[in-house]
Structures are given as structure tokens and as C-alpha cells.
Assembly symmetry: C2
Homo-oligomer: 369 residues x 2
DNA sequence: TTTAGCACTCAGTAAAAAAGAGTGCTAAAA
DNA sequence: TTTTAGCACTCTTTTTTACTGAGTGCTAAA
């Protein structure tokens, strides 16, 4: 009952899987728990199936290998460990890792060194984009796995300034300054050719009217105006309404995106040695879709998430685990960050590291405003 | 003397290597040339060392294996082929490929299918960025290797519009519209805090004065003005000069960049099976530096370039070949594109494909203006 | 100059044998 | 009842041995 259970302030949700059995209420006595923990720690460290003898030695439980073998049989029946073949030791299953991560793990605070490195590398002065890459790269660097950051959603986008420039034949370049200092540009297509002056006027109109408003709100307002005032207003206004309609049209579905670094680190893991699996994984990284879905789940969960092996539901991540934590500013979750690595990873170190990184990113982002 | 030598209009430069010997003036009689060609074609097709018997069969030269063995000994002495071990056939060396590519190759025009696919996938309507990725992706798709495009240098950047917005504490957001419809934004740091009105005035001044000019010219003009008029002009002008100086400061060294797709295709090649080499290669891709240097060389060469194996001078590309061609608009070379693949690639198909793609990209870019 | 013949080399494969790790089971000890 | 020592057994891993076949280099004859 003492040092086994995680008893510090770090918390994270148990990933709820859709399991038919109402299991996970697996009852393990202290001894079995201790042995499972030892086994996993040993396996994570050594990377080879753990036998009863080794376990007898480093569990600290003064038991004979024979006794331990008996326990192993129980654990195997529960599906927490498995053995590659008769005369090999045991390796943890995903389910075993799950128990470990949920209730056996000894979470240590990150080392002084890690902390210092983290602080050093997260630079307030950088642009958000660069900040995100450096966070991702710090994560991958410190864990020797892949680091990933789901970049902030723009669910509130305040318009600061709007500008139009005519291009050739019915195309207009719109330049938006949003969220104080972020620039977006969009090309829109119009039915008629506007002159620079006309566009200027439209921009002026929209700027005075909507500066400071949420972009989506603008679109809704504009749409209403179109209905209510219709042809009654002057031509300049109509231009403005027309333009605004087209500019903000693209806004509703802002595609999420992530920054991924250190993928190549994953090539070294013997668990992913199969070149074909590796290719599939890398293809998923470039394809982005699946990974985005997963990160989106993490985002929605609003708490630390851990997917172990096939838990993620994506085949390509079959031999991988994903550890993520949301980062927030003013209690508002902006995105998630984390690492992707082999199922056999050092959770005891990675979990607090990801957690801390998320918190520090929040702090850094906070300082920027 | 007939069908052996490349005799169509497609031309490309021989990559000049720094070799101490004044070699490459290697004299090969017709028979040896023919055999080398046959050997390489066979090896590229089958992927296995080619023996004298096989060569006797498909060279079409009605010679006995024994005779061919004699020739092979000569070719081996010249360093054009080598044998992995005593009882294996021969494989071409880089030097052998070099000869092949320079003077033995039978360059076929791209197939109808390839041509159609190329035409279909290069869409004029896309943004330049997206056009570049789709070119790269077409290249990788059609060759099953990695496609790469060095994106256009902006060596002439005409200023169309300049805008300033104050941010917090001495930081100003500059928005530049250049080259008609391209938007750049830069954050600059100033010693004093300007008001929005001041900045507006400065922007107006600069816009009227420099709209249409080359950005670097602007900087030079401004620098001159600073010296000549010094404190004699009014405050608004000084602001303008000050701002322009800082904005265009970043311009001198526009970092080159490339788009790379289909890297994962390279994982399948047995020549690159070594996971460690593969990692190094992928690291070079993310690091970008070396690849950029190489592409820059290609760019400077102003003609089709082929680097075979270690010729590139980069260790990571040791087992790779790089085939590039410059693309141009109005006779002005804008960048290069090409493929990266295993040394053992089908040059006869790849070379004209890369060449054609470059030409088509030029055409497409031309249509956009 | 070309070719047939031949001895030789060496990777690759297969089969057999030996070593070693770890298990499950049983029966005795605690 | 729980724990443990002992032991036969299983299965991977490593080593050894042998064999096959592709392809060579060389020599001597055509």
C-alpha cells in the first residue's frame, strides 16, 4: 500500500475503451501487482521477455522462481502478459500496460536536467509557429521518440483589419489581419471586376463596422444584412456585402493541423523493425488524417490521454503508444501535445514529461499576450 | 553505331566531377559498350548481379559466355563494373552508370500515358505552393521514388503595397504585397512606439514612392536617402525611412526551400534496406541543408543534372541517384525539380520524364501571368 | 581471336546437433 | 494451504556440417 500507487498531484484520465466486458475491474493482490510492475519495468528496460528467475531477483519480493511462475500463469490467464513461445519469459500485453499505467506506475517528477532543458528551449520570443515546432522538437529530443503538437484551434478569430487588392479577371486578394498580429490572405472570385477604389471603399466600410468582431460573427451579420437591406443600399455597400460574404465563406471549417518532429527516431526501435510497418506509419504521418483524428480525440478528452498499442483504433499505430496532454491558456484548452513511440516506452518518465511540457507551453503562451 | 547513342533532341550536361585522372576519356570499343549497356539494363531490370551467360543471351551479340567473361575482366579493370564476390555476376559501379548515362543510354520519349497523366495533374489554377507540391507528388507517383522541387527563388520581388500595424511595445507588423498577389508579413522591432496614424503616413509615403520597384532596390534607395537627407526631412519621412530600413533588412538572404514528397517510396528499395542508412537519409531530408546545397548546385548548372551515387559528394546519398532539370519561364530559370531514388534506377525512363516535367511546369507557370 | 572445358570459389540453403533459457508439473517442505 | 526444489520437456538460438549451383578465371584447342 505504500510506494506502489501513484500518489503525487499529477493526474490523468484513464482512457475509456469500449469493451464488452465490464472488466478492468481486474482484482490483483498486492503480490501480483508488484510482480506485474516489476515485469514491465524490466521489459521496458531490457527489451526482452522476462523470465521467472530475473523477476525473482529484481522484484524485491523474496520469492522463488517457481512461485513466480505460478503468479505468471494467473497474469497470463487475465491477459496481462503473454509469452512469445514456451521457453521464453513473459512480455506485457496492451492490457498489462494499461493496468500499469493506470494504477501501478510510480510517477516521478521530471529531473532537474529535463526541467532546465525544457525551460531553455521554450523561447517566449518566437513566433507561435516556431514555438510549436520547438516544443515538438524538444519532446522528440528528450524522449528519442516522435514529438507532436496539435496547433491551436482558432475558434475565436477577431478581425483587426481587412484589405482588398484586385488581381486579374474577377479575382481579388483579401488580406486579413486577425487576432492582433496574424495575417491571412485569401484569393476570392467575384462575378464582376472591381476597381481598386471600389474595393478600398468596401474595405473601409467593413473595417469600421466590424473591426474587433469575431470573424464568424461578421459573416452571420453580413448574411442578415443582405436579406434585410437587399437592393436598398448604395452600390458601395453592396460591394462590401458581396465581398465579405465571399471572404468569410472559407472560415467555417478551419482545418486542424499538427507539427510532428523526430519521426526518424522511431526507425531505431526494434519493435517497429518491420520496414513495411514503418512505411505505413510514415505514410500515415504524411497523410495526417488518422493522426489528426486521434489528436482530436485527445483534444476533446480535455485531459492527459494515453493510447497503448491497438487501443488507438488505428492499425498503423498497432505497435505504438501515444501520450498526450492538453495545453491551455486562461483555463481554455488550445491544443494538445505529446509523443508517439513504441508501446514499450518508459511511461514513468514520458508521462510526467509530457504533462510538464504542456503546462510550460501554456505558461509561455500566456506570457505572450 | 546505330541505335546506341542518344540521338534525339533531349540534352543534358555531363556532371563534371573533380577527378585527379584525366579519365572519362575511357575508350571502349563497340562490343564493350554494348555489353556494358546490356549489363546495366539487365541489372536495373532484375536487381541481381548479371553473369556472363545471361549477358550472352540478351546482349544480342552472338558471343560465348567465355568471351564475355574476358570483356568483363576489362570492364572491371576500368572500374565500370564490379562483382560482389567471386561466384557472382557483375554489377555496375557509379562510374559504369556514368558512362551509361552519358553515352550509352537510349532515351525514349515519355509514353502517352505518362504525358497524359502529367498534363492532367498539373493544374494551372492552383496556387504556386500547391502547384509545386503537386508537381513533386506527380514525380514521386510516376517514378515510385521521391520527388523534389526547389521552389522559385524570388530574385526579383516587386513591391505592390506596404502596410504597417502597431503591435505591443515597439513591435510593428509589416504586411507586404509583392509580385502582384503574394503576401508576406514580417514583425519588426523599433526603438520607439509609433501610433497607428504615424505608421499609416509612413506606409503612404513608401507606397507612393516605391510601388512597383524591386524590394532590394527599395532598401538601397532608402539607405542612400538616410545618408543624404539625414535630419533635414520632417519626422514623418524619418519614420518612413526608419521603418523601410527595418522591413527590407530581412530581404537580402531569402532562404531557398524545397518540396519533397514520396520519401517513403525509398523505403522499399532493397539497396537502401539498411535501416540506419535510411534514417540518415531521412534525417538529411528534414535537416534540408545538404539537399538544398545539392539542388542549388543543380540550379547553378542551368541544365539537367544527374548525380550518381557518391558523385553528389554527400555520404547520405551514397546509394542514391539524383536526377534534376531546371524549369524556366521566359528563358529565366526559376528553380529545379527532379527525383531522388536508388542508384539502380531506370534512367532511360526517369531522365526524359524529369525533363518533360520541368518543361511542362515552365509552361504552366507561364500561363499564370 | 574466340571458345570449350574444367577446376575452383563462394553464397545460400538445408539438415543435424548442441546449447540454453524457461516453462509446467509434481511432490516434498514449511 | 502455500511455497519451493527438482526434473522432464519445449522451443529458440547457435553452431556445425554438408551440399548445391551459379559464375568465375585459366588453359588449351579451334
Amino acid at each position: 500500500m505504500n510506494g506502489l500507487v501513484c500518489n503525487n498531484e499529477l493526474t490523468y484520465d484513464v482512457k475509456k475503451r469500449n469493451q464488452t466486458q465490464a472488466d478492468n475491474g481486474i482484482e490483483l493482490n498486492e503480490r501480483a501487482r508488484r510482480l506485474l510492475k516489476s515485469l514491465i519495468e524490466n521489459y521496458v528496460r531490457e527489451g526482452m521477455p522476462v523470465g521467472s528467475k530475473a523477476l525473482a531477483k529484481d522484484s524485491g519480493l523474496d520469492l522463488s522462481p517457481a512461485t513466480i511462475r505460478n503468479v505468471m500463469i494467473d497474469l497470463e490467464k487475465l491477459g496481462l502478459v503473454s509469452s512469445p513461445h514456451t521457453s521464453a519469459g513473459r512480455i506485457p500485453t496492451s492490457k498489462g500496460y494499461r493496468i500499469f499505467v493506470d494504477s501501478l506506475i510510480t510517477v516521478k517528477a521530471p529531473s532537474e536536467g529535463d526541467l532546465a532543458q525544457l525551460r531553455a528551449e521554450l523561447n517566449v520570443t518566437e513566433s507561435v509557429d516556431r514555438l510549436m515546432s520547438s516544443v515538438s522538437s524538444v519532446l522528440s529530443g528528450m524522449t528519442s521518440m516522435a514529438g507532436v503538437v496539435l496547433v491551436p484551434r482558432r475558434d475565436y478569430t477577431s478581425l483587426r483589419r481587412l484589405e482588398f487588392l484586385p488581381l486579374s479577371e474577377g479575382r481579388v486578394l483579401a488580406i486579413l489581419v486577425v487576432n492582433d498580429h496574424e495575417v491571412q490572405n485569401r484569393v476570392i472570385h467575384t462575378s464582376k471586376n472591381y476597381t481598386e477604389a471600389e474595393l478600398q471603399q468596401a474595405a473601409n466600410y467593413l473595417n469600421t463596422l466590424f473591426a474587433g468582431s469575431d470573424i464568424r460573427q461578421v459573416r452571420r451579420s453580413v448574411l442578415q444584412d443582405m436579406v434585410s437591406v437587399k437592393n436598398s443600399v448604395n452600390l458601395a455597400m453592396q460591394t462590401a456585402i458581396d465581398m465579405a460574404d465571399r471572404v468569410f465563406d472559407q472560415d467555417e471549417n478551419d482545418p486542424a493541423d499538427y507539427v510532428l518532429t523526430g519521426q526518424t527516431n522511431l526507425m531505431h526501435f526494434s519493435d517497429l523493425a518491420d520496414i513495411d510497418k514503418l512505411k505505413q506509419l510514415f505514410d500515415a504521418f504524411t497523410e495526417k488524417r488518422d493522426i489528426l483524428h486521434l489528436l482530436d480525440e485527445c483534444y476533446s478528452a480535455q485531459s492527459m490521454q494515453i493510447y497503448i498499442g491497438e487501443e488507438s483504433g488505428y492499425q498503423v499505430l498497432g505497435d505504438c503508444s501515444v501520450v498526450t496532454a492538453p495545453y491551455e491558456v486562461d483555463g481554455q484548452i488550445l491544443g494538445v501535445l505529446g509523443v508517439i513511440g513504441p508501446t514499450r516506452m518508459n511511461y514513468e518518465r514520458v508521462i510526467p514529461l509530457v504533462d510538464l511540457t504542456a503546462k510550460m507551453l501554456g505558461t509561455v503562451l500566456n506570457q505572450r499576450d
